[in-house]
Symmetry: C2
Amino acid sequence: MLALTMGDPAGIGPEITAGAWAALRGEEDIRFALIADPALAAARLGGCPVHVVAQLADAAAVFPEALPIVAPATRLEVAPVAGRPDPRNAAAITGSIADAVASVRRGEAAGLVTNPIAKSVLKQAGFPHPGHTEYLAALMGRTGDEVMMLAGPELRVVPVTIHLSLRQALDSLRTDEIVRVARTTARSLLEMFGIAAPRLAIAGLNPHAGEDGHMGDEEITLIRPAMERLRAEGISLLGPLPPDTMFTEAARARYDAAICMYHDQALIPLKTLDMARGVNVTLGIGLVRTSPDHGTAFDIAGTGRAEPTSLIEALRLAGRLTQARAA
Amino acid sequence: MLALTMGDPAGIGPEITAGAWAALRGEEDIRFALIADPALAAARLGGCPVHVVAQLADAAAVFPEALPIVAPATRLEVAPVAGRPDPRNAAAITGSIADAVASVRRGEAAGLVTNPIAKSVLKQAGFPHPGHTEYLAALMGRTGDEVMMLAGPELRVVPVTIHLSLRQALDSLRTDEIVRVARTTARSLLEMFGIAAPRLAIAGLNPHAGEDGHMGDEEITLIRPAMERLRAEGISLLGPLPPDTMFTEAARARYDAAICMYHDQALIPLKTLDMARGVNVTLGIGLVRTSPDHGTAFDIAGTGRAEPTSLIEALRLAGRLTQARAA
């Protein structure tokens, strides 16, 4: 059983949840329950059959017939309106996350899937964490080791720097951080993905991976020293690889995840290969957590245009990962 | 008729030329002749039937039966050995290029395809140009407007900055250069590719194209001003687009070429989509010139492992472009 958080109730989360339930209700190896105020159903889940259950343990039985909903401790303050986020519902949004994590810690849920939240809305309400991942790490008491992976059907990528301008990404790239991210990725591929001998590809930063220092020296000064430390820990690595040729089909066959130096180096190949089916996976926080690779999309919420594809893939991947962990 | 230069005779050029001839001899709309010292045949074209002709006009008739070779003014100094480049052959390498360009200027060849050269080998022999493209521009008397496009079956990309470290690319990005590159690309799509109303996609530099300045401001300070100038010239543009989502199949359907801010932003999607079939096209020098998207590969020259795919695609594209120009 997976716990699915509500996300921002004014975004597309409710409608993609309904779509994902309709798509997955017939798949026997995936079961999930939405952790949300039952009042959400009337406001934003119109048309989707729901069944409010007292606890997650009761959700599996109703799943084929209705979307199971488990009420969290904190309810909605105001009825959600599609496309109009309201900071008064921030406590219900974060409460759904906290309750879902608690259910994993108690062993009632095997893993966590999160619907999109809007940082700006939560910030207005005084939420102190920069984002979802940091909040989850804090709830798990595991801050400082969180890593974001993006997993598609053909490629897994892990950016070392994320939501920074390209110049800031260059300025903040550090050997220690490359080591931390790659180490956590290797451990997670083993423990969470069940890959016995994970192989990592380490991307260069510069064109042609710098050509021995002729086009940039970060490969020599930052990346190779990280690779030496990682190899000394017994981690299997390729690299630093020329970024433009490392994502071809033949190249991808040689590694299990690519450690990338900046956001678009990771996200361009992932989304170019398969835009709709990329999934976020949080590593290093001690639980299985996946999420769709898009935001709240307030601009299309309530129009019926939101695609549940990425949430469906996030639920499927969380299902596979929790089974790999259990195995 | 296309003129194909020799390239470095110690690289894979001769063997991919033989492979391309074998693959294309039956295609009626492609005819090419190799501009090379006939002595190359014995040294590096073993097994490929060749026919030395006095002039390009005689090449078409022999093409189905043998690779036509036209001797250039400057001959090889030493017999080439696979994998062992020799600066004494630099004059023969550059002479093949000069003769091929002259044949295009005289109207004997419709366009030019170049085999790979090694800049370091030519530099040792005193060659003053940074590379192929600049030399061609100088031969055409059109320096300063050359632009490199990479064209694959599914995507055309044009990097504004090319062989620079990522940091140098950031430091050297200029509005004027974005305007120049995009303008030349739009004109070439019209005049060379025969696209009546070309549409360009302009990539952002930063993740999410900077999110209105929250993650970098180059979109605001450098890219949007370039777009305003280009629009004032009547050029149809999209952008600045978030780099990670602009290369999906749905996004690609909306433009004819993507103007990219740095090497890997252009090359990662191109090579990820179709590594083998990317082709270089030089724009802005007043002739059709294509080349394979790889180097001399001295390390595998003579081993039989070189793939002629990119040269074949370069010849096919040059054939189509010269027909589009003629039409």
